[in-house]
């Protein structure tokens, strides 16, 4: 073997660096291409569409922010936006309280590994893997006022006055859907919380127990602060999910957010504005795209703020 000069070594190092960069590019390019085609391109075209007038699917004149002005400030249009927004807020808050609250309780209970906890873990998670459309349809049948399972059970239990047309009343339609959503999804935050609790070293909990903390104090003072990263993830995912909520309200009460727009959501409003609904409206791509852009900007901004705020209280587990 002949001796290598300094230049040889440097060349070899450069070649190694190049090989590594090529390999990185090889790995990164396909996902970046996919992201570009399926995320940035549609996002860009939505922005582009939103500044034109549309005749069905034919692009008309450039109208600047006119579509945004219409959906935001024309009372007959903006009232739908604000009503849907209000409903999405209700969904977010309720899901946080009902679904994630329940998930937290379940996770804390499961973390203590009661008899048969593995079975319960599977049972709670099972609905998560089912299709949302199927679940929406199935619960729509359960909640049918005439022959639905829920009202039949209530009547059998002598609670005739409780046998309401759950999906037909403005007061009960949205709460019913939120509960259905909770039934569908509760296993997911439960599992995430459970994993977070399992990640907390047992010593902390034993130390707190020796310090005289009750189970409640342990949950509040030790487990809860230490599962902050999981809470961040769940809050942000819940927020995004709540403001993109579509399948359950669509399947259960249709595109118009029946009854009386009490279950209208931004997603439904966007869909029927952009694509129209057979029974009531025709498509308006301009206004629909403007809505899509607004919804995206809102979700993006608030998710970012949530992430920032919540990450600040996260603790690295030593």
């Amino acid at each position: 073997m002949t001796a290598m000069t300094d230049a040889d070594f440097r060349r070899a190092i450069r070649a190694r660096t190049l090989r590594r960069n090529l390999w990185l590019a090889f790995l990164l390019l396909p996902p970046m291409a996919v992201m570009f085609i399926f995320i940035f391109l549609p996002m860009g075209s939505a922005v582009l569409y939103s500044v034109y007038e549309w005749d069905g699917l034919v692009r008309g004149d450039f109208v600047g922010l006119e579509n945004f002005r219409e959906v935001l400030f024309e009372p007959q249009k903006s009232k739908f936006l604000f009503n849907a927004f209000k409903n999405n807020v209700i969904v977010f808050v309720s899901v946080m309280v009902v679904q994630n609250g329940l998930a937290l309780v379940l996770a804390m209970l499961l973390a203590r590994e009661p008899k048969g906890y593995r079975f319960y873990q599977v049972v709670f998670f099972l609905p998560v893997i089912l299709s949302t459309v199927i679940i929406g349809f199935q619960w729509k049948l359960f909640l049918n006022p005439v022959f639905g399972l829920v009202n039949n059970l209530l009547r059998a239990a002598g609670l005739d006055s409780w046998a309401l047309p759950w999906l037909g009343l403005p007061e009960t339609a949205l709460p019913s859907m939120i509960l259905v959503n909770a039934w569908h999804w509760v296993g997911f935050p439960t599992l995430v919380f459970l994993a977070a609790i399992h990640r907390i070293p047992k010593d902390y909990i034993e130390a707190a127990r020796l310090d005289g903390a009750s189970e409640w104090r342990i949950a509040r003072d030790i487990i809860w602060p230490l599962m902050a990263p999981a809470v961040t993830i769940i809050v942000v995912l819940t927020f995004i999910g709540a403001f993109n909520w579509f399948e359950i309200p669509y399947v259960m009460n249709g595109l118009e957010g029946a009854p009386g727009y009490s279950t209208d959501m931004l997603g439904l409003l966007f869909y029927r504005t952009a694509f129209g609904s057979i029974s009531a409206t025709d498509s308006d791509f301009g206004a629909g795209s403007a809505l899509a852009v607004l919804i995206f900007l809102f979700i993006f901004t608030v998710s970012l703020i949530f992430t920032r705020l919540l990450t600040a209280r996260e603790i690295e587990l030593a």
Partner: protein, 361 residues
């Protein structure tokens, strides 16, 4: 102010018997060390006492009162964990005061106790830091501080020094001993390190496979181990063992022949414990060898490693008696690797173990 009695304490995890049955007594103010190799059940025994594990059978009393049904916090104990288990989201102050706050102690009293403990442990300037911003030794002290503020009757330490470097370990050993004198509390300390046991304990409890092998003052265990396990575990470097056979017996001594035909006469009070022809083990501590020659029996062998430290010398021999032998000699000795040496030992200061591993006294 705590007198602890464990009576035939048993612990089983599923089918695994971790503690088949242990009884011991700890006097008020005593510093007791549970020592043994990993998996010997010492931590389990501590956790049973703390109430972090439930007994399978037996009883635990503190000051004459059954406590094994009480929750951990009501036993009047404080524990320092191997990992320190400092709450990572709380400051040092919050960590130290947590137990008091849980007990709804008046604020002023909490503050006073935290200050006092912080002063004892030199933590005053770190009170507002989070554990992440502390060094290993400081964390260790916070963990101890957290125990101190509770004024417990008994302190439990679960391998508290194993995460520290050697120098800090020595320092903390001394600090904990000082603390014991100052607080006048019962302390139970679990370690696998027999040096910690020897240096800190009033009483050592040697555990092996869930059984208590021997209890006693450190030097009693060193000088008079009950069995081969304790003899081998206590003392560093560990005792050398040589297989041998009893060739003769009289009223006050046994004659043992080692595998290289070296004959050793072992004086003892109960020679009847072994018979002629029995396979026995001779134990010689490294520090019991000397180069003084004379007519004392000798172990011969070739030096395969030597450590000359000036004040003392360690020799590692491949002995003709068939074992690697460690020799600890005071002073400097000019020995090199490959040398053939013979080291003498005083049979009266040695130990002989019967086929069951019991000491023949």
């Amino acid at each position: 102010m705590a007198h602890i009695v464990m009576r035939d304490v048993q612990k089983r995890f599923g089918n695994v018997e971790v503690i088949p049955g242990a009884s011991l007594e700890i006097k008020d103010n005593e510093f007791v060390v549970f020592v043994g190799p990993s998996g010997c059940g010492k931590s389990t025994l501590l956790r049973l006492l703390a109430g972090l594990e439930d007994l399978t059978a037996g009883a635990i009393e503190i000051d004459g009162e059954r406590v094994d049904h009480l929750s951990p916090s009501r036993r009047g104990l404080a524990m320092v964990f191997q990992s320190y288990a400092l709450y990572p989201h709380m400051t040092v102050r919050e960590n130290m005061s947590y137990a008091l706050r849980v007990a709804r102690t008046p604020k002023a009293e909490v503050e006073a106790k935290v200050r006092e403990a912080a002063e004892i442990l030199q933590l005053t300037e770190y009170l507002d830091r989070k554990p992440k911003a502390l060094s290993g030794g400081q964390r260790q002290r916070v963990a101890i501080g957290r125990a101190i503020v509770r004024d417990p009757k008994v302190f439990l330490f679960d391998e508290p020094l194993s995460n520290l470097d050697a120098k800090l370990r020595v320092q903390m050993r001394i600090e904990i001993t000082k603390l014991h004198r100052r607080l006048k509390a019962t302390m139970i300390y679990v370690t696998h390190d027999q040096i910690e046991a020897m240096t800190m304990a009033d009483k050592i409890v040697v555990l092996n496979e869930g059984r208590i092998e021997q209890m006693g003052a450190p030097l009693d265990l060193y000088n008079d181990p009950d069995n081969k396990f304790v003899a081998g575990f206590i003392g560093s470097p560990a005792m050398n063992f040589f297989d041998g056979t009893v060739t003769a017996r009289d009223d006050a001594a046994l004659t043992v022949e080692l595998s290289d035909k070296t004959k050793v006469v072992y004086p003892c009070a109960n020679p009847g414990q072994a018979g002629v022809g029995d396979a026995v083990t001779l134990g010689v501590r490294p520090e019991n060898f000397h180069f003084d020659g004379g007519d004392e029996p000798a172990i011969k062998g070739e030096v395969y490693a030597v450590e000359r430290l000036g004040g003392e010398t360690y020799l590692y021999l491949q002995s003709t008696a068939g074992h690697e032998t460690v020799v600890h000699a005071v002073g400097d000795h000019e020995v090199a690797v490959g040398d053939q040496v013979a080291v003498n030992f005083n049979p009266a200061r040695n130990h002989l173990f019967d086929p069951q591993g019991r000491t023949i006294r």
